[in-house]
């Protein structure tokens, strides 16, 4: 492993460092609050791991640039309006076959709109986007993490009310003394 590749993986080193720090704190610290903080650091390292893997080289944020989005919306909107106009026209002129014709016309124009839209979309694929999914997953995991921390702190409050301390050794001593 060359120095360059070690440096190139710096985000993973950060992840591993945080993971081990958090894990050590959880296992080694006897203070309940410190365990909760350790657990938090441990979970945060996993968030970073996921976000790292979602990043694509030279990729930008996975949001369609406003210019392309506007163009796309305009094109789709325009053709659909044309379709509606044609449908109205056809309905006036050929009342009897209006239904079938209107359907056909609308269908064709809708197809046009779609193919037009996909051409634009094709053009926009030249931009490289990062993968948004891992970040989205982490939003869920962050919520889970907050819930865990909240519950853990609530339990610590109750433990402190009952024992008068948040030190695990002291609590176990008190229990033995019972």
């Amino acid at each position: 492993m060359t120095l360059e590749s070690i440096a190139g993986l710096y985000n993973y080193w950060v992840v591993i460092f945080l993971m081990m720090t958090g894990f050590y704190i959880v296992l080694a610290r006897k203070n309940l609050i410190k365990s909760v903080i350790g657990l938090n650091i441990f979970q945060t390292s996993v968030f970073l791991l996921y976000i790292t893997m979602g990043k694509v080289d030279h990729g930008t944020a996975p949001i369609v640039p406003p210019a392309i989005a506007a163009e796309q919306a305009h094109a789709a909107h325009g053709t659909t309006e044309a379709g509606h106009a044609a449908v109205g026209h056809a309905a006036l002129e050929h009342a009897e076959t209006a239904q079938g014709l209107a359907h056909d016309v609308a269908h064709n124009l809708a197809d046009d709109a779609i193919s037009h839209g996909s051409e634009l979309a094709h053009a926009s694929t030249e931009i490289i986007y990062s993968n948004p999914l891992p970040s989205v997953l982490m939003l869920t995991a962050i919520v889970v993490g907050i819930a865990t921390t909240a519950l853990a702190l609530a339990l610590v409050v109750r433990i402190r009310e009952d024992y008068g301390t948040v030190d695990e050794e002291r609590i176990l001593e008190l229990d033995r003394g019972e």
Binding site: V26, Q43, V46, T148, L151, L155, R158, I159, D162
Partner: protein
């Protein structure tokens, strides 16, 4: 209308308890919340029975969440295995709720009753969700829903040790869940998908990159914490002992089993037994830890004076039998492991219910306080005796069926030392079951026991439903061992 409901059954199974839980909180009244929870749990049970029937008659039921086709959207899958597990989980959830009100009134302050039922429903949602989902990240989310609610449920226990036990479980459980999350992330990194079937098709097995190995290692260790496999079981005895009786009944019967389910899914669905057991030595490792766990936990159970702690250690041992079956990876062995999940859920659920009855009448679960209670509470004590026989694995009880399958498989694969060790370990179970039976029937009644009256019918009937089921499924097996065998063959079918 009926058709529409029918088509959406897999999601109703989750949505019903999930929506009912906040409703319980909004109602804000213990009694109304109880009725709501009871109705919903039976509806959920009915849903899962219909789904299991469907899966048995036809094929795998697939449900696309929000009409997004997999692998882009989340897919819910009900096959025979998941249908079987969700049927017994929701069934036991419903029966425990029937049993609950008197015990809850005795052990939990009245102001918290509605919150208790809301949390109970959430826990059930999480467990059923883990069974029904075909999406790996969804498994993690549901695992956390069930875990977080079970920490909260355990902390409701009467003594001050309950919050401490819940806290210790929370720390270990969260580490386990985070390990699972790392494993899922690494698998996603290798395959670019979260759908379990899709991952299985894309993941490189032999000569694959080390990332896959690391992912499997994280998933295995994380799930072993949740399953309470020896030596990662340390959270379990305290959690089961100090939780309210009703919570112990439910969690002991279902939570670890659902983790075993997820483990089996990952080994047979994603890792494939060929890779896990032939390339990696996971089978020998699992067997080793199972057998050591069975002996150490059973021996520890013998020396317990607190009956709930005794049963908790016995649970750690019984998880070992399930893993033994899984590690043999033959149709007989795997079906033995799967059916033991079901049988043990019935037996342990029933026995913890008995403990709850005694706790209500005698105010204690210390063995010394149960002396002679068999004379004043004969039916409750008889339920213990029957459940205990099933736990040992005496013929005509459910425990015998699963142990028989495991023994057969051990002989089939030429692992007779394991068969001998299993028989020896059953003797340890005889000892700890007998200790309690002896105390109940052959000791001079303690003062509390002499003045005790038989447990109320509202608690005895659900207890006998579960204990009776252990006898029923000991002689009539098409719907226990039969389904388990079909599930095992389907699980092994994907591999040559």
């Amino acid at each position: 209308m009926i058709d529409a409901i029918y088509a959406h059954l897999p999601i109703l199974l989750i949505v019903l308890p999930l929506v009912a839980a906040p409703c319980c909180v909004l109602v804000g009244n213990g009694r109304a919340a109880y009725l709501l929870a009871l109705v919903v749990s039976f509806l959920t049970f009915a849903c899962s029975i219909v789904l299991l029937g469907e899966a048995l008659d036809h094929d795998v039921i697939r449900y696309e969440l929000g009409n997004w086709s997999p692998p882009y959207g989340i897919e819910y899958r009900v096959d025979i295995f998941s249908g079987f597990v969700m049927a017994f989980v929701s069934g036991i959830g419903a029966i425990v709720l029937v049993y609950a009100p008197l015990s809850v009134r005795d052990e939990i302050p009245a102001s918290k009753h509605y919150l208790f039922y809301a949390t109970y429903l959430l826990c059930m949602t999480g467990l059923l969700g883990m069974c029904v989902t075909g999406d790996l990240f969804n498994v993690f989310v549901f695992l956390e829903i069930s875990s977080l609610s079970s920490y909260a449920l355990i902390s409701l226990g009467r003594t001050r040790r309950a919050p401490l036990a819940a806290f210790q479980y929370l720390i270990l459980g969260s580490i386990g869940a985070t390990f699972i999350l790392i494993g899922i992330g690494l698998l996603y990194q290798m395959t670019g998908t979260l759908n379990m079937a899709d991952i299985a098709a894309r993941v490189p097995h032999e000569h694959g990159p080390r990332t896959v190995l690391v992912a499997f290692a994280f998933l295995t260790v994380g799930l072993c914490v949740k399953m309470a496999v020896f030596p990662l079981h340390t959270w379990l005895p305290n959690a089961y002992t100090y939780a309210p009786s009703v919570v112990t009944c439910f969690i002991a019967a279902t939570a670890t089993k659902v983790s075993v389910y997820a483990f089996v899914r990952i080994i047979f669905g994603i890792i494939t037994p060929g890779f896990a057991f032939d390339v990696l030595p996971l089978d020998t490792e699992l067997m080793l830890f199972s057998l050591v766990g069975i002996f150490i936990a059973s021996t520890a159970a013998i020396y317990q004076d607190n009956v709930k702690r005794l049963l908790a250690y016995s649970s750690v041992a019984q998880i070992g039998y399930m893993l033994l079956g899984i590690s043999m990876a033959t149709p007989t062995g795997l079906s033995g492991g799967i059916v033991h999940m079901f049988n043990h859920a019935l037996i342990k659920g029933g026995l913890f219910m008995v403990a709850g009855c005694f706790a209500l009448r005698l105010g204690s679960v210390q063995l010394s306080d149960w002396k002679g209670a068999g004379r004043t509470m004969p039916f409750t004590a008889l339920a213990w005796a029957i459940g205990g026989l099933a736990l040992i694995g005496v013929p005509l009880t459910a425990g015998f069926i699963s142990k028989w399958l495991l023994l057969t498989s051990a002989f089939e694969t030429g692992r007779w030392p394991i068969a001998v060790l299993m028989l020896l370990s059953s003797l340890l179970a005889v000892v700890y079951v007998w200790r309690v039976v002896e105390t109940l029937f052959f000791s001079e009644p303690s003062e509390a026991a002499a003045n005790a009256t038989e447990a109320p019918l509202r608690m005895l009937v659900p207890t006998y439903v579960l204990i009776g089921a252990t006898l029923l499924f000991g002689v009539w097996t098409p719907y226990s061992a039969g389904i388990a065998r079909q599930a095992a063959i389907a699980l092994l079918g994907g591999t040559p």
